[in-house]
């Protein structure tokens, strides 16, 4: 009995061993890549990153702002984190179906990154330390800042320019900047024409947990708010946001602090609409001055609040549309 079992075990082990032999990849070194002259880019860490073969062609990005910037610069990434989520949240710069999924944004698969034969990886500063060093050991890595509440639009363009330089698409970046400025100018005159210049706007999103509504106000340090301010609108939130994204927290009764403002919000279809679904029968909500005067407006789905110029141009359109409603 014992012997039989041992034999079975041994043969199973031998079979496994035999199956595990062989290789998935031939030996030998990679063919020397051709290309242009080396490029050096200084990223948000202040580190000079050198791309030895010139502008990066095969690029992966672990955060969606990096992905959006790449796509809008005309460089379709070969690796993207959480592709499904990107499709759900970001519509400004859609993928063409070719990128490979890297897993979650917080812990992108280093195996997949290694297998993609990349010229460049774009990450943000929220990546786990250690993972950054591991990726960097093989491929040049550019670290972008998640945001900067002191100068959100400046930080957005800094990120865009870093990527543009690394991918040799500075012309397109300049063009994007012009389009963005033009869009702001148009938007500003549309706001003016609507007679809304100087009006106060409270922008937020919200989520439901165990029957409670948690509201996430976008304070003056947030990117969306900065765009609205450039349109001539003012931010109505009074609380202080976090130093990176300019986000704060609020509950329903906290909304009573707001006067008769324009109350705009983003809500993704997949998660329902907390304001409309949960608060319809709430007397605080129905008593709020801006609810009574009908100044509540839900923005179109899939506008990414932490995105790049393309997303922000969508916000300009959405804001103008909301004013003309």
């Amino acid at each position: 009995m014992r012997l039989t079992r041992a034999l079975i075990g041994l043969s199973a082990a031998a079979a496994l061993f035999a199956a595990g032999c062989g290789t998935t990849e031939d030996t030998g070194n990679q063919a020397a890549a051709g290309g242009g002259d080396p490029i050096t880019v200084v990223d948000s860490r202040g580190k000079a990153v050198t791309l030895p073969d010139g502008p990066a062609k095969r690029v992966a990005a672990t955060e969606w702002n990096g992905v959006e910037n790449l796509v809008s610069l005309g460089v379709m990434p070969v690796g993207v984190s959480d592709i499904e989520g990107y499709g759900t949240w970001v519509s400004a710069a859609p993928l063409d179906g070719t990128p490979k999924d890297l897993g979650t944004r917080g812990e992108p698969s280093i195996d997949t990154l290694g297998a993609l034969d990349l010229d460049l990886v774009v990450v943000t500063d929220s990546l786990t330390e250690g993972a950054l060093e591991q990726i960097e050991a093989r491929v040049p890595v550019i670290v972008l800042a998640g945001g900067d509440a002191k100068d959100p639009i400046g930080a957005m363009f800094t990120n865009l320019d870093i990527i543009a330089k690394a991918t040799g698409t500075e012309d397109r970046a300049a063009q994007l900047r012009t389009e963005f400025d033009q869009k702001l100018t148009e938007g500003k005159s549309a706001v003016d024409a609507a007679g809304a210049t100087g009006e106060k706007v409270a922008f937020s999103d919200a989520y439901v947990s165990s029957g409670t509504i948690s509201i996430r106000p976008f304070t003056t340090g947030s990117l969306v708010s900065a765009v609205f301010e450039r349109l001539g609108l003012q931010n109505a939130w009074t609380m202080e946001g976090d130093p990176v994204y300019g986000l704060a927290q609020a509950d329903v009764e906290g909304l009573t602090q707001l006067p008769d403002v324009r109350f705009w919000y983003e809500s993704n279809g997949s998660e329902g609409d907390p304001y409309a679904d949960e608060l319809a029968a709430n007397a605080i909500w129905t008593n709020l001055p801006f609810v009574r005067s009908g100044k509540v407006h839900r923005f179109p789905d899939k506008l990414w609040m932490f995105g790049g110029p393309k997303s922000m141009m969508q916000y300009v359109d959405a804001a103008v549309a909301a004013l003309q409603k």
């Binding site: 595990g20 990849e25 950054l132 093989r138 704060a248 008593n287």
Partner: protein, 671 residues
Amino acid sequence: MLVSGLAVLVVLGAAVHLTQGTAGLGAGDLLRMVTGRGTGATAAVVFESRLPRLLAAVVVGVALGAAGAVLQSVSRNVMASPDTLAVDAGAHLAIVAVAAFGVSLPLLGSAGIAFAGGLAAAAVVLALSGRGGTGVVRLVLAGTAIALAMISVTRMLLLLFAQETQGLYAWGSGQLGQNGLDGIRTLGPVVAVALVLVLVLSRRLDLVYLGDDHARSLGVRVGRVRLVSVVLAVLMAAAAVTLAGPVGFVGLAAPALVRLTAAVVPGLHRHAALVPVSAAVGVVLLLGADIALRALIGAQGALEVPTGVVTTLLGAVFLMLLARGVRVSASVAEPPAAGPRGGVTSRRFRVVLGVLLATTVGVVVGAVLLGDTTLLLGDVLNWVSGRAGPIVTSVMDNRLPRVVAAVLAGAALGIAGALIQAVARNPLAEPGIVGVVGGAGLGAVTGITLVPGISFWTQTGFAGIGAVVATAVVFALAARGGFAGERLVLIGFAVQAAAQALTTLLITLTDPWNETKALTWLGGSTYGRSFAHLVPMALVVLLVVPVLVRARGELDLLSLDDESPRVLGVAVGRSRLAVLVCAVLLTAAAVAGVGVIAFVGLIAPHAARTLVGRRHARVLPVAALLGALLVALADTVGRTVIAPSQLPAGLMTACVGVPYFVWLLHRTRAR
């Protein structure tokens, strides 16, 4: 006296509670409203936000206080409560599982699902810990372990079914805020009815509490009373969980406080008085915690801190004090091993060791080959000889440190567990349950928060300090009466709970949008580990092993009882301290390396004893190998099943560990 005092406290607390909130609405507005001169807006805020929040505190406080009192009486165990019976964790798991698998249970609603989950969890814990009465530590350990396991499974479901379970992640911490009165209108009556039924049963509960035989001789059907009371208690707790999420420790602290005062207040030991007073104390505690939170950090800041975290902190402190007074028997509460083999032949030991070594090598090879990219042995050979292509090189360079990290951490935790079990003389003690892991994790997170761009060595240092502080607290408090095993475990449990609550607090206050950070420091992961991260673990293992080789004989004596080593001339206090220092070092290094990983320190040494007997010269190497095996396996599975995404190793070990732990509890139940 007592009753009127409590009533005054509740009324005062309620009044203060109503004035707190994010709307600009103070005592003056409230007074005007009461006297009929308020505005519609004031009334709206009061009726849709303040009053629901206050009533939620009242309903939850009553439910938890009364449920705790009943559970403690029925099990004749001061440590029984919705927390220690895993009711909270079971309810949460049920809700998430139903959402994840898309099952629709229209008749039950979320409250019904939570109730079913909570009841199932309580039943498992009670069945495993036995209703015998005094097994305080068994109950706490069984409940904590089951809760831990359920939380891990819940987190895994949340990761695996992220789309289906959206919005349920935040549910894991107790918050009193309500959207209108709907929730209270549904669940308040449930709690009220259950409370009335408990009061109807109160006379019979008095008798059951005195003793089964006594009650039976007076014509009470003990089994039925017990069953009904437990179901009622779980119903109340589940209602509280559905209303506000898990609010920690109120159900434990409130009735325990009342029982303490029952010694000086006549008549309070009768359930007709005990249950309502416990309910009132529950309300006072919960209101107090909520008021204190808002008073300390303001109404705006309080939005970010779940009230459940505060009650857990308060409750943990209370539990530590309570545990100091728990009567403990001088004799060994449990045998040092569940299936003690006094000794096995050295041939058997060598065979076991050989088989384990071979298996470990096999698992390590498997771990190197499997993952998001599957490799074959030829690739590894090419890599070893430096001829591999770029893809294989990249994968190997990143995967190998992770595999080694898992092996080292597993071995370190296995040894640490064996040491702590020897010192605490309890086969169910482990670094996680005794607070060392929590302390180390808290230390590391504190370091990350305080020092921006912290170096890995500094972070390890912080983890070490955290582990040392936690251990010092646990053992200083447990020192009275010579480190009795039971008291040690109870205080450790409290410290672990407090450390976890503080970790949650730190992360939610300083970095609320960083889910990865939360997951690593509450879940444990080998992601992004490189060889540089492994140096502290390797150093500590190298440092500790020779010490243990020398101390193996003393360890055997320490794990017997207090007298034997003394008779044989061993300085008990000093050896214990030395052993503990080793265990703390190992745990801190492992936590700094891979985050918080549970269950390994429990299972590995226990299984080792079952395989090769009690002698530490044999247990320690086998425990180290088993620990390494377990974590390496868990890590490999976590890296492979949902690739390119991954599950943290800590969650996987919990899932692998639970069946074993349940079996272990079941086996030791008879004793």
